[in-house]
């Protein structure tokens, strides 16, 4: 494994020591907090606050509201900083932290499920639920990236995929329980306001305990900086120590999520800034990162409080996440990523098919079969039935548009996924990861809040604009690194994180226009009009048509840039064209089935798995496979809980999720 920490490559430094900024920021946070405290209560009364808080509301608001809020900001920030450092050390991954690993999203989903399904259980152990969710996600992410030796980029991609699945499930849960919308949303935004000292005290002893344990593990931690074989030589149970430290970090992160919701990217920012400030040794990093984490969150929160007033509801966690995307992008050039050959990283094949044509025909037949089932079989108030000719006449206008749009979206996303996986040589690459879908989401958000009435057409236009802006931004960033595959993926994740933060900040407003956003996020295609369906089919045909011509590029690029260049391939230009195409396919596909469907990930895998190993044939098979998957998904979504309908994108990710787990945890032998 070859990776280095960001600061080591930041060679030359300005003459003024960079760490000087931190005491200044600390002073600023202190001043802001004192100002807020002063506003709430004159200094002469400060000493008597605890006594008066029991019966006097103004004092209670300060003593049980404002003061514990500062404490929670500081403690949660420190806990996330520590969790970030520990995760980064154990996984030897400078961009690991609770939100990039999906741990926070997992904890949040577990809590949402708890609120809806078993409020009684939650009353007993809110934190236990969060920790269980976080551990499950962590295990899943590790399992997903195990085959690539926990390579940093793969780990983060797995984390963002798992976050996506968690997000899809959360969105469906919220849709199905409209009355709790506000609760789930506010809390998703990471709101820090407090009503008692309990959460602060809870976080304090956890942080103290974890900090103590971390210092005890300092020696083993330092050893982990060495490679596994040498550490073993020193008589250390490497795996056990790693696991122990990881558990510690996950527990801390889950506690923070249980207490205040998702606070994005503090765990990424704190250690990165600590290294920049000169904390190079493990010992220094261990105290510097929590310190800076505390300072970052405290400063952000008191700034927001000062600007918006203490009455406003502020999704502090969503605001910190806004900085996360740019931070990731800034760290990109400092991430050591090699343009090494990645062929081993392509999805596995069970062997190369001897009869590709026969298999293609089979796939076409499967598509026709599922399409016919989708058009003819359904439920009505009397139960299941197969529509006869007359009934079909009445039903077709409702069934074909959603079927066609789903199939077109599946085909487009599958093509985009094949391109992404070939381009990056990473089997976890998928259009969902490129961040284009999230960009479309920001566009939809804008159309909902800027226009008096959002029509389907205006939403389409805004979504396309959002996708295009996200794409252009990502391209601009990636261009600076010559479109290296890993950089590109990370740029996508960063863009996605940034757009996602905007969406959750808006969602946290609790405004009920967010329902439309939720419907899109969960991938609801039930209201597609014949016109829209025709349009997506036309766009799909237009974008898919040139793909067979790109077979050679897709065949050569996974061999790595040098090899591809040696074969006379214009590497940068071919990558640019492919990226552009993949982004357009993604944007068009996401418009109908939402950003979370996972079809773009799963379809190329299945195509390879059944024996399509050559680029061109894999592309064709993947497109068919994506179409088949979405035809099936659309039918299931329409019929399973009739008359209620499951959003298709969600059904697709519920099919794709288990597949992912199966695929990535099974033995290497296949």
């Amino acid at each position: 494994m070859a990776e280095s920490l960001p600061a080591t490559s930041a060679g030359t430094r300005p003459p003024v020591p960079a760490w000087l900024i931190w005491p200044l920021l600390g002073l600023m946070a202190t001043a802001l907090s004192l100002h807020l405290l002063w506003q709430a209560s004159p200094p002469a009364d400060w000493l008597s606050l605890p006594a008066r808080a029991a019966h006097e509301l103004k004092a209670a608001l300060v003593f049980y509201g404002l003061l514990p809020r500062f404490a929670v900001a500081i403690l949660a920030g420190a806990a996330l900083g520590l969790a970030g450092v520990l995760m980064q050390r154990v996984l030897r991954n400078p961009i690991a932290e609770p939100s990039t690993l999906g741990v926070a999203a997992g904890a949040k989903l577990a809590l949402s499920v708890g609120i809806v399904l078993a409020p009684g259980l939650l009353a007993e152990g809110r934190e236990l639920v969060a920790v269980a969710g976080a551990l499950l996600t962590m295990a899943l992410v590790l399992a997903l990236s195990w085959r690539r030796g926990l390579d940093p980029v793969t780990v983060v991609i797995s984390g963002s995929l798992v976050s996506m699945i968690a997000g899809a499930l959360g969105a469906a849960l919220t849709l199905a329980n409209g009355e709790y919308l506000m609760s789930l949303m506010v809390w998703g935004g990471g709101e820090l306001s407090q009503q008692s000292w309990q959460p602060a005290l809870g976080l304090a002893w956890r942080l103290a305990l974890a900090g103590f344990a971390a210092f005890l593990l300092l020696r083993p931690l330092a050893l982990l900086g060495l490679d596994d074989s040498r550490a073993k030589g020193l008589g250390l149970a490497v795996t056990a120590t790693r696991l122990g430290i990881l558990l510690l970090a996950v527990w801390l992160a889950a506690s923070v999520t249980a207490a205040v919701g998702i606070i994005g990217f503090i765990g990424l920012a704190a250690p990165a800034f600590a290294r920049l400030a000169g904390a190079h040794s493990q010992r220094r990093l261990l105290w510097a990162a929590p310190l800076l984490g505390a300072l970052l969150l405290w400063l952000t929160d008191s700034l927001l409080l000062t600007l918006a007033g203490t009455d406003a509801s502020l999704p502090t966690g969503a605001i910190t996440a806004l900085f996360g995307g740019p931070l990731l992008l800034w760290m990109l050039p400092r991430l050591h990523g090699a343009n090494r050959p990645h062929l081993a990283g392509l999805p596995p094949a069970l062997g190369r098919t001897a009869h590709p044509l026969r298999l293609i025909v089979l796939l076409v037949l499967a598509l026709i079969t599922f399409a016919l089932i989708g058009l003819m079989v359904g439920q009505d108030t009397a139960g299941w039935n197969i529509a006869g000719f007359d009934a079909l006449h009445a039903l077709l206008p409702w069934r074909w548009p959603r079927l066609v749009s789903a199939v077109a979206a599946g085909a487009m996303l599958a093509a985009a996924g094949t391109i992404c996986q070939r381009l990056t040589g990473n089997p976890l690459a998928s259009p969902e990861v490129l961040g284009i879908g999230a960009g479309a989401g920001v566009g939809i958000t804008a159309s909902l809040f800027l226009l008096p009435v959002a029509t389907p057409l205006s939403m389409l236009g805004f979504a396309a604009a959002g996708a295009a802006i996200a794409l252009l931004f990502m391209l601009a960033v990636a261009a600076r690194s010559g479109f290296g595959p890993e950089r590109l993926l990370l740029a996508g994740i960063a863009t996605g994180a940034f757009c996602g933060a905007i969406i959750s900040a808006v969602m946290a407003s609790g405004d009920f226009r967010t329902f439309v956003l939720l419907a899109w996020l969960s991938g609801d295609n039930s209201a597609v009009t014949p016109m829209q369906a025709g349009l997506s089919a036309a766009v799909a045909l237009l974008l898919l048509a040139p793909l067979p011509l790109l077979g050679r590029w897709l065949e050569l690029l996974p061999l790595g840039a040098p090899a591809a260049r040696a074969s006379g391939l214009p590497v940068t230009r071919s990558r640019l064209v492919l990226v552009l195409l993949a982004a357009l396919l993604t944007a068009a596909g996401c418009l109908t089935v939402g950003p979370l469907s996972l079809v773009g990930l799963v379809a190329p895998h299945l195509a390879r798995l059944i024996g399509f190993t050559r680029a061109r044939s894999q592309l064709v098979a993947a497109v068919l496979m994506g179409a088949v998957l979405m035809a099936l998904t659309d039918w299931l979504s329409r019929t399973l809980i009739f008359p209620y309908q499951i959003p298709s994108g969600l059904t697709a990710s519920l099919i794709g999720g288990p597949y992912l787990i199966w695929f990535l945890t099974r033995r290497r032998a296949a």
Partner: protein, 289 residues
């Protein structure tokens, strides 16, 4: 009915079928309430499982078909039921092209920023009455609601309950509430009762949402009227909140938990709220002397 048909033509609405009264379907809940209040024969409406639990009134007859989630109404089922007129609100505009393939679609607006929901609810009921030839029923219901509110006002007049300002709130989670402002249904009822709405801050779609619960401390003498539904674990968490415990209204027992009322309902929701609030305030009156 003849007069109704005349008004119908006058209003420019041409029914798909000649028979009256029209077969209605409601996608929007405030329109569902409005139609049910007029005793219009409804063929279908959305999310009835949840409606029966959290809106309750007016009750939905068993014969009304459930179209599924408001966010994803089952168009195929709706089409098979062949309604004449589909009632939506601007929030469901994105379904309009599809719905128009089934029947005439009419959008009614109860909730627009800054406009009073109560008056909008009345206007919407009148408009629907005009459209389907039930002007008299609409006028009757509007008058009956006004009369019921006036009766409530008389009952409350001079009672201790009426002497304090009120916060009408819904609880989002342990730390956040929605406070219903002057332009909400609930705010309108408070005003017609001659009560003071303790929340004078800005509103957004009839509720400034969400605000931290300490905002309730701005008017320490106020009563709290909690309008469910609330999240299931909120009561437990409120019990552990020191700020909640210190709120004067909580400390001094001025918290009124009502039965659920549609937070974004139409005139029937206002009427239900008026009845529930009167009963709660008067029973508290009896309770505390």
């Amino acid at each position: 009915m003849a007069a109704g048909a005349g008004a119908l033509l006058a209003s420019g609405f041409t029914p798909a079928r000649a028979a009256l009264p029209a077969r209605l379907a409601a996608i929007d809940w405030s329109m569902l309430e409005t139609a049910l209040a007029l005793n219009v024969p409804l063929v279908a409406a959305t999310e009835l499982k949840l409606y029966r639990r959290v809106v309750a009134e007016p009750a939905v007859p068993a014969a009304v078909a459930d179209l599924g989630l408001r966010g994803s109404p089952n168009l195929e089922l709706l089409a098979s039921l062949a309604p004449d007129l589909i009632l939506i609100s601007p929030f469901y505009e994105r379904y309009r092209p599809q719905l128009e393939r089934i029947a005439a679609v009419q959008s009614f607006t109860v909730y627009t920023p800054g406009a009073p929901a109560y008056e909008n609810g009345e206007a919407v009921m009148r408009a629907l009455g005009d459209q389907i030839g039930m002007e008299r029923e609409a006028a009757d219901y509007i008058a009956a609601t006004a009369a019921e509110i006036a009766a409530g006002r008389n009952a409350l007049a001079g009672s201790a309950a009426a002497s304090r300002p009120l916060f009408a709130i819904s609880i989002g989670d342990a730390r956040h509430v929605r406070i219903f402002g002057s332009d909400s249904n609930f705010g309108a009822v408070l005003e017609r009762f001659g009560l003071t709405n303790a929340w004078t801050g800005r509103t957004r779609y009839s509720a400034f949402a969400p605000v931290p619960i300490e905002a309730l401390a701005q008017v320490p003498e106020a009563r709290l009227v909690i309008i469910p539904p609330v999240p299931p674990d909120v009561t437990r968490i409120l019990a552990g909140s020191r700020v909640w415990q210190t709120l004067p209204a909580v400390r001094e027992g001025r918290v009124h938990w009502l039965e659920p009322v549609d937070h974004f309902g139409a005139l029937p929701a206002a009427r239900r709220f008026a009845r529930l609030l009167t009963a709660s305030l008067l029973s508290a009156e009896a309770h505390f002397g």
